[in-house]
């Protein structure tokens, strides 16, 4: 008997039957959903015979456009899960007033931990990475990012991490230490289970992917711009992408260090963060927030870039104050590394240190304010069109300013002492993330969707989604400001003050409306796909856009541009349209060399996830095998010489001719008709 148990232990580590979530009906139901969902997807793809298509066109693609779309798909899937988790928590808090509710503390702890971890690492990061991936190379006049294979590897590492999060629903329990995972609570002594290990490795997979992405984007923007596109001629979305990637490069290593040291504590009994034996647990908070603060700027800067693009496009006006916007973006990027202590004002350092960081924190409000004024002035005297992306941008401006002001409250140490770790804080950061990050991502998704897929999204459902997201946000989070000021702690599985009840009920209703907002987006997608033939915008410029991404067909050809454009000013495409130089074919067509597809990304991502899973359950052979596969793939790949394919000039000519022919035969639309069926993707020239 001992031998058999020994063999099983070697094979499966700590994984036993008890890992299955039969201790709770809700947990079992969720696990069942995951398993049934995964199996259904497999069966559906097999039944439709689409594996080959998916493998060759999507999974092994190193095309930034495909990779961008896949990132956003991951984001939407994970957002669905995390939003449902949020609703569960809101319902629990609304009913568990002087009563235990329906979620025991341990389960509630897992919920707020997965909610935060997923929303940050597997919703927000993939969403913004996907948007930047898709749009930025087109905007700088490049054919792809500088390291396409690395791009694919980053995607699959992120996907692997997301997969690990989903597996944690089925096998074992997740961490109950929140998305920040503070030891000693998450150390081996107080959390001996697999939870924090799931958290550590899922986050590590994501953060390695992000570091490589930041490297990729920064190199692309520095070295891959079209001739004549100086940095000061780049669209603002590219500036925010550059600053975001710089933040990614420098902010991810502290997270890697923090989680690695925590892992060493847990796996090898070391004493970085233990309570005694020379450990210093406060250093964890320091390291984590060295990452955590720049991280939130990673989240918000791309959204700021989207707003700059959207507000300018739908005000039919050049962006106001380009230089000040660039300076503000850079200032925000640099300042974001000087404020991290405001996340732990109450940890015990002196008032002088708190004051210094408090002042630095308030300083960041200034460049953000500059941006808000620049956006307002862009709209001023413009011809504003209230399309869904613009509606989201307007809601952002109002809501984000409110959130920013509560940020100033929190930046004041004595005030923070009152509301630290209350739901006031929860309200503040959701106030920044939802109207700030998420509205920006949704706006960007709706703005660039026609470019990516060749047809517009349904306007009506876009407005319904907008209504739900805005009303839902206010109902869900404004009460939390009141509750936080009244002293309600965050992460509470049960509350003991009946005065909280009305506010918690409102918040719960808000959560459901937010869920309706997400559902509306899915309905919008389904309706739009059904109506796609009437909404096609193949000519490529449905919004009378100003940047180079609008100067190609929708969807763009694989190589983006038949001939790399030469840039002479900002808002290149707008300038070309004004001068009547748009849609001119190049003098000659050349062969175009593009990178071939590669399975390396898929293998590395899946191996990474397998390695992580092995580490969680102490299945050492799996982890070792995973590592060998990862490094083996890298080495083997370096021996592959045949990594490019050539698209012959004749094919390029044919593709371009087909598109230009279409452009010549299609009727341009004025802005009044841009949301009607008349919009075929060609704008009336202003000249």
């Amino acid at each position: 008997m001992t031998e058999t148990r020994g063999v099983w232990h070697l094979l499966l580590g700590n994984l036993t039957y008890n890992a299955l979530p039969f201790y709770s009906a809700i947990a079992a139901f969720a696990a069942g959903l995951v398993v049934v969902g995964a199996i259904s997807v497999f069966v559906l793809i097999t039944w439709l015979g689409k594996w080959r298509y998916l493998w060759t066109e999507w999974f092994t693609s190193v095309d930034h456009k495909r990779i961008g779309v896949m990132y956003i798909i991951i984001a939407f899937i994970m957002m669905s899960r995390a939003l449902i988790e949020a609703v569960l928590m809101r319902v629990q808090q609304a009913v568990a007033i002087n009563s235990p509710g329906f979620l025991p503390p341990d389960h509630f702890g897992q919920l707020f931990s997965t909610h935060g971890t997923i929303m940050i690492f597997f919703m927000a990061m993939p969403f913004l990475t996907g948007l930047i991936n898709y749009v930025m190379p087109l905007q700088i006049g490049a054919r792809d990012v500088k390291f396409p294979l690395l791009n694919s590897i980053s995607l699959w590492l992120t996907g692997g991490g997301a997969g690990l999060m989903m597996v944690s629903l089925v096998l074992g329990k997740f961490s109950t230490g929140g998305w920040s995972g503070y030891p000693p609570y998450t150390g081996i002594e107080f959390s001996p289970g697999v939870g924090p290990d799931y958290w550590i490795w899922a986050v590590s997979l994501s953060s390695i992917g992000t570091t490589l992405t930041g490297l990729n984007f920064a190199t692309t923007i520095y070295k891959g711009r079209a001739p004549g596109m100086t940095l000061m001629r780049m669209p603002l979305f590219c500036w925010t992408s550059l600053c975001t990637s710089i933040l990614m490069i420098f902010a991810m290593p502290p997270l890697t260090v923090a989680t690695a040291l925590l892992a060493l504590d847990r796996y090898l009994g070391m004493h970085f963060f233990t309570n005694g034996m020379g450990g210093n647990m406060m250093n964890y908070a320091n390291l984590f927030w060295l990452f955590g603060h720049p991280e939130v700027y990673i989240l918000i800067l791309p959204a700021f870039g989207v707003y700059s693009e959207v507000i300018s496009a739908f005000s039919s006006k050049r962006l106001y104050g380009y230089t000040s916007l660039v300076c503000a973006t850079m200032a925000i990027a640099i300042l974001s590394f000087t404020v991290w202590l405001h996340h732990f004002f109450t940890m015990g350092q002196s008032a002088n240190i708190n004051a210094a960081f408090g002042i630095a924190t308030m300083t960041i409000g200034v460049p953000t304010g500059v941006k808000v004024y620049d956006w307002l002035l862009t709209m001023f005297r413009g011809r504003v069109r209230f399309t869904p992306p613009m509606l989201f941008s307007l809601a952002f401006i109002v809501s984000f300013v409110i959130g920013g002001m509560t940020g100033i409250i929190l930046a004041t140490p004595p005030l923070d002492y009152m509301v630290h770790n209350t739901v006031f804080l929860v309200a503040h950061f959701h106030n920044m993330l939802i109207p700030g990050l998420l509205y920006g991502m949704i706006a960007g998704y709706q703005y660039w969707f026609p470019k990516a897929f060749g047809f517009r999204l349904n306007e009506t459902w876009g407005r319904i989604a907008f209504g739900c997201w805005v009303v839902g946000f206010y109902l869900a989070f404004m009460p939390l400001y009141v509750l936080g000021a009244e002293g309600m702690p965050r992460r509470s599985q049960e509350v003991f003050d009946t005065a909280y009840r009305p506010w918690l009920l409102i918040a719960m209703i808000g959560a459901f409306i937010l869920l309706a907002g997400l559902v509306s987006l899915f309905i919008q997608l389904r309706v739009s796909i059904r109506q796609r033939d009437s909404n096609r915008v193949f000519a490529g410029d449905p919004w009378d856009g100003r940047g180079l991404e609008w100067s190609v067909s929708a969807p763009p050809p694989e190589y983006n541009f038949a001939a790399i454009p030469t840039v002479t000013s900002r808002d290149t495409f707008a300038g070309q349209k004004e001068r009547g130089q748009a849609y001119h074919p190049p003098k000659t067509y050349q062969d175009i060399e593009m990178p071939k597809n590669s399975a390396a990304g898929v293998v590395i991502g899946i191996s990474g996830a397998a390695c992580a899973f092995g580490l969680v359950w102490h299945i050492w052979w799996m982890s070792i095998l995973g590592l060998i596969l990862i490094w083996g793939t890298v080495i083997v790949r370096s021996f592959v010489r045949d990594i490019y394919k050539v698209i012959p000039a004749a094919d390029v000519a044919r593709t371009e001719a087909r598109w230009l022919n279409h452009v010549a035969n299609v009727r341009p639309v004025p802005r009044e008709l841009e949301t009607t069926l008349a919009n075929k993707g060609l704008a009336e020239s202003v000249a």
Binding site: Y222, K223, I246, F250, P254, N280, M282, N283, N286, L287, L290, I334, F337, T338, W340, L341, M347, G348, Q349, S350, I353
Partner: protein, 142 residues
Amino acid sequence: MSDRPRAHVLRWVLAFVAAVAAAAWLMAEPHELAPVRAAATGRAEHRRERRSYIIGFVFAVLLTCAAFAIVAWRLMAPGTALAIVFALGLLQIIAHFRFFLHIDLRKSAREDLQLILFSSLITLLMVGGTLVILFNLRHRMM
């Protein structure tokens, strides 16, 4: 500030200033040690580059020996010794950048310099911030 801490801080400041000055000399001096040819022909360039590695190696060995000697033979008081050791280390790192990595302030690509300077700034903020904060916490816990 009383006398002892002031002397202590002064020592560090002097060491740092000396290191930075030497570094600036290393980076900016137009090859007194390895003359530039106007047209870098293959042979001359080869010789120049080999010179660079040899000079860098010799520098590094000397700086290393100096640092180890200070500690091994206890040549000065502990506080001063530490300051000098760190300064020698900083100098050697800069010598590595200059002679092995061929990074000097005049000729390098703009983006590389921006990257190094920005990385140095971030590193300083993170490491300096960490030490200040954690030492402050320790002090308040004593």
